[in-house]
Symmetry: C2
């Protein structure tokens, strides 16, 4: 599970200060799939990065499980993320010199863990990446890169998966595959999934939707499918 | 206008060869807004890059206006693109060391042309970028970066605008702004607009939709809104 308490993130200072987050409090439980929606620039990616320990808030607290992040050293934070967090970045962040297959296995390699061949096969097959594994990101389409980024986050079966607009570059069939994968991660593996999306169809896969605007939570919707 | 005749683009060779384009013929007239849809990996970005002269097809012909691209030197191709083409890239391709404002003006600067202050103000205001102009791409949200990429393509009022999934990272309000801008470029400025999208709502802004699959045109739909 993940918790945020009174998160504030300010860039700059004085009258050019940007309050990317302006007091966000929220809790995300195990086995819960939360979608986060809101206008461009409303703070969604900033919130995700703070929740995953990739960015430090100006003030406020984040907890992953019972571990508060603010007290941790960089090393401890890195180890915590490696063990417990998967992140699908809005801009993919694949390593250009590694193949798709190497990018997908990277978190396991860094954690010194062996891949589970059946799980790896499941992830690669359902995301339709089997014949692209030996290609580097520059040789992949935008949607293929996005699916590689998703596969990389799914491979370690982490406690928490953060997905920042994971279907923005995908056609509806590929998008549905990613979304059903995320939902079964929640239902079957009891993971916590937090997904930013602009797409109401994608939000419909979640158990609830949080609405962000101007760095604050503006509302919540439970069981979003009619 | 833009024309493609029997375009083929092959990557690799032998039995690992990938036919990104497998014989595409299409024409895009002035004052026409065409959407291109199709599954991830079907060749949409490859087609756009070949049509814009950013990539050389394995075989086949591309014409922009009455100028065939295959005979041109690199220098002539660069000048043609600079004068006549705007391109919104699927991965934005903003220069990280320039501010948003500098990125937006870059094509004009390279062409040695002065910005039209009223047009620049119109583009920046309607895309809601006014207070982000002094920030570099790393300080912008994903959607803000995408809007900067759109603004950069619109600034020179080129004959042809290629937009590769220009609303994938935008909420519906920002997306609608970009799409209505593209449509008025067609209606009022008689530009040719070719837009790749996965979003049926975005495709609804176009005059017609071309469907791509496995590197080939699989169908066409005119006046896609019901
Ligand atoms: N340099 C390359 N080497 C090998 N294959 C490539 C290369 N560049 C692209 N491809 C392949 O060509 C095919 C078409 O790619 P393209 O980027 O045109 O797809 P797309 O329709 O734009 O997909 P998306 O909707 O995911 O952006 C894909 O299967 C891709 O992996
Ligand atoms: N390093 C920075 N310096 C200044 N402002 C920043 C910086 N990083 C982000 N911002 C600003 O913080 C605000 C929130 O950004 P964020 O990336 O969280 O938005 P978002 O909700 O993810 O938007 P999108 O839907 O466009 O991806 C934006 O206005 C952005 O420009
Ligand atoms: Mg974002
Ligand atoms: Mg593409």
């Amino acid at each position: 599970s993940v918790e945020a308490e009174d998160l504030v993130k300010v860039y700059g200072a004085g009258d050019t200060a940007v309050y990317a987050l302006d007091g966000v409090t929220a809790a995300f439980g195990s086995g819960q799939f939360t979608a986060i929606m809101g206008p461009s620039g409303s703070g969604k990616s900033t919130l995700m990065h703070c929740l995953a320990g990739l960015d430090t808030p100006t003030s406020g607290e984040v907890r992953i499980g019972d571990t508060g992040l603010s007290g941790l050293s960089d090393r401890a934070l890195t180890l915590l993320r490696r063990r417990r967090v998967g992140f699908v970045f809005q801009s993919f962040n694949l390593l250009p010199t590694l193949t798709a297959g190497q990018n997908i296995r990277l978190p396991l390699d860094l954690a010194g863990r062996k891949p589970d061949p059946r799980w790896e096969n499941e992830v690669v097959t359902r995301l339709n990446l089997t014949d692209r594994l030996d290609h580097r990101p520059a040789e992949l389409s935008g949607g293929q890169q996005q699916r590689v980024a998703c596969a990389r986050a799914l491979m370690t079966r982490p406690d928490v998966i953060f997905a920042d607009e994971p279907t923005g570059n995908l056609d509806s069939a590929s998008g549905a595959e990613v979304l059903s994968f995320l939902r079964s991660s929640v239902r079957e593996l009891r993971q916590t999934v937090i997904m930013v999306t602009h797409d109401p169809v994608a939000a419909g896969y979640a158990d609830r939707v949080l609405f962000l605007a101007d760095g604050r939570v503006h509302g919540e919707l439970h069981d979003p499918t009619p």
